[in-house]
Amino acid sequence: MRAEPVRMWRGRAPATPLPGAARPAPRKLPLVIGLVLLMPFAAAALLTGLLAPYDPMASVAAPFQPPSLSHPFGTDDLGRDLLSAIIAGARTSLTAGLAVAALSALIGTAVGVTAGFVGGWTDDLLMRLTEVVQVVPRFFVAILVAGLFGGSLTNLILVLGLMSWPGLARIVRAEALSLRAREFVQAAVALGGGPLWVIRRHVLPNAVRPILATLSLIVAGAILTEAGLSYLGLSDPNVVSWGRLIENAQAFLYRAWWLSVFPGLAIVLAIVAVTQVIDGLRRE
């Protein structure tokens, strides 16, 4: 192995317990909590049309109504129903989170596996690229792209998806590197196992825990970035999202507390839910 001890260390996956070491029984609690929390959001995202009592974009009542029975989360400055908007926003925010995670997982795995198995200058090149992407400040680029090309959800997903994969790539590469040298993999290859088979069978199962941990950060990062861009006025006004709801509430912080509180809670709970579910899966 060439002299890259430092990088090797950094890319190393958190240790899996060795056989014989004390290991607590798998704890299902986070998974359960997470799933319970996530359920209403998932339902909202999937069944927006059915669950939302009103059209989230239409004025349906007097403006600035505090929470009441007919409008449990109140109405906003144009008389739109906030509950409906939060339900509609779930789809946007969760789509952003999951799409970004999927895109980064795809790129990260591809880059990591290629770098790890092919090695040589390909590895060098890919790792330099990984490092470049890793240190470019993601949020700044998101600000730039939203400012320069428009703040559509697609742009956001592309920017974050195309820039969030380096961590994953490193993890996968480290796993691939360590496996490449192992006898059973060499044996598998010698026996005619294709690279994809090796990846599916050996690399991914070993890397799945650290990958999941990183993915939970990426999902949370995407949801929070959308909110941050909205706060700076750089998101898509044709789509209802939690970030936009909070941004809209900025002007009315002292007039209508509910406009800011409910979307904020939605973001917090959704991120906690996603984190817990992923954490729970990781422990299984």
Binding site: G150, L234, L253
Partner: protein, 519 residues
């Protein structure tokens, strides 16, 4: 560890209880601004972030009072020839620059010819081609000779449009755009620069030799950069800031009830004045070419609701293409036939052959605008959805908006705040004359062409005869109301807030604090 942190916070709190009441004796006013000025030369830019700070350090030849009529500034009096071709200004005596040099007519001539006509885009575009000569018969007299009769000159000479700069500073040292004096300004104004922390604070101090006796009253003006407008208002409430140029309209009602805050309404200010939120129809796009479609859009939008819910009552439905603040030119009969009527809008659309499909949908159009106008777009989207038009809002930042509208011409409709300024020749003509179609920002966005309209604008600009001018502008508005190249939504005003321990601000001019003082 946590306990230590808590203790530290408590000690910090005790040490620095707010000192909001400390300013009464000092004569310092703290002004909130939303962006860093970057430099202090008001002659080379029209940027509001520069003018809001720098205008207090300079003067124009004439000032503007609250009705936007000219009042003496550097010129104490003036004469206009009968044919409006020659303007003679008599300058105030004993005016000195901040560095002690005397101010003379040469400074005026130099400023116009070497700085304003080169770098101040609004004055360059407006006056550069109509001024034939600037003569200085003696040190205290300046004569403007125009190529042809020109009416609105006096409205274009205030400190925002034409700040006078020192010749002795700018005649050496290279291009005014990159001149070192832009960061070390030398003006004649009531205040002079004391210190500048880029991105944070600009401090001005009283000019003790100011040529207007007894002015200014305040000892110091401190400009504070606060980008978040909610924070600006909180700081005003807490007494950390004394003056907020534009209070968010949603907060006005709350501030009216708050103790210690006075509010001023004004329709003009350092960024431009008498603005009308205007929808431009891209007449090169087929979708808005039928007059009925444009009329239907006009009838579908509930403009009163825009006033109520977007402006919180601060503003008015636009009754004519020219702002009601320019009363002599404003002509309400031109738009009388339009009223909010969705049913009529649907009829018009049917008549135009844009029938609704099974779901009530007719067609989709886009609208380009600044992100700050999102709220207007949301209301319009709702109203247009009601008659089957799907409005897609395309907020782009300032630079991209200008590019999309005026260079690429990539839009069906757009929403722009067109500021009429003090005279239709300055801020209205540019929207309608066919010579102004092209890649110039904030020009004729609709690409509207009408020879008669071109002629009328030219005629109105060539005379200073009020009656003849207002006749011409009325006729223009009749034609515009019939042909509807734009739809005029609402006239906007803005509300300035300040601590009520102060008085005498004039938010309608760039030199807003010349007469401000503590009660």
């Amino acid at each position: 560890m946590q306990r230590t942190l808590g203790a530290t916070l408590a000690v910090a709190a005790l040490l620095w209880m707010p000192s909001a009441s400390a300013q009464e004796g000092g004569g310092t006013a703290v002004i909130a601004i939303d962006a860093d000025p970057g430099h202090f030369n008001p002659g080379i830019t029209t940027g509001a972030n520069v003018h809001v700070v720098a205008d207090s350090m300079f003067n124009g030849l004439v000032g503007l009072d609250e009705d936007l009529s000219p009042v003496p500034d550097l010129a104490t009096r003036w004469e206009v020839s009968d044919d409006s071709r020659e303007y003679t200004f008599h300058l105030a005596p004993n005016v000195r620059w901040h560095d002690g040099e005397p101010f003379t007519a040469d400074d005026v001539k130099f400023t116009f010819e070497n700085v304003l006509f080169e770098h101040h885009s609004r004055t360059k575009a407006g006056l550069g081609d109509v001024v034939a000569e600037i003569a200085t018969p003696d040190e205290r007299t300046v004569v403007f000779r125009m190529k042809e009769p020109y009416g609105p000159l006096l409205q274009r000479l205030d400190v925002t449009e034409a700040p006078i700069l020192p010749k002795h500073v700018f005649e050496t040292g290279g291009d005014p755009a990159g001149h070192p004096a832009n960061l070390a300004p030398v003006g004649t104004g009531p205040f002079r620069l004391a210190s500048y922390e880029a991105g944070d604070t600009v401090t001005l101090e009283r000019n003790p030799d100011y040529f207007k006796d007894g002015l200014p009253h305040l000892e110091r003006l401190i400009f504070r950069v606060i980008p978040d407008e909610t924070t600006q208002v909180l700081a005003l409430q807490q007494g950390e800031v004394d003056y907020v140029n534009r209070v968010p309209l949603a907060d006005v009602e709350r501030l009216e009830e708050a103790d210690g805050i006075a509010l001023l309404e004004s329709s003009t200010g350092a960024g431009g004045g008498n603005c009308i939120m205007t929808v431009s129809f891209n007449l090169e796009r087929e979708v808005v070419q039928p007059l009925e479609v444009r009329q239907a859009i006009a009838d579908a939008i509930d403009r009163q609701r825009v006033v109520d819910q977007v402006l919180f009552g601060w503003g008015a439905v636009a009754e004519a293409p020219i702002s009601s603040a320019i009363a002599w030119a404003h002509w309400p009969p031109s738009l009388e036939s339009y009223e909010h009527d969705p049913a009529k809008a649907e009829e018009l659309l049917d008549a135009a052959g844009r029938a609704a499909d099974g779901n009530g949908a007719r067609f989709t159009i886009d609208m380009v605008h600044f992100p700050t106008f999102n709220k207007y777009a949301e209301v319009m989207k709702q109203d247009l959805a009601g008659v089957g038009i799907d409005l897609v809002s395309r907020p782009l930042d300032r630079a991209a908006t200008v590019e999309a509208i005026f260079a690429q011409r990539d839009f069906d409709t757009n929403l722009i705040s067109y500021c009429n300024g003090t005279d239709p020749d300055i801020g209205v003509k540019r929207m309608y004359v066919s010579s102004n179609i092209g890649p110039v920002p904030f020009s004729n966005a609709a690409a509207y062409r009408n020879e008669k309209v071109d002629e009328l604008f030219d005629a109105a600009g060539r005379t200073s005869e009020r009656e003849a001018r207002s006749q011409a502008y009325h006729e223009v508005q009749e034609i515009l109301g019939r042909e509807l190249p734009y739809w005029w939504l609402v006239e906007t005003t803005f509300v300035t807030g300040h601590r009520d321990t102060l008085e005498g601000f004039s938010p309608w001019t760039g030199q807003f604090a010349e007469r401000a003082r503590y009660k």
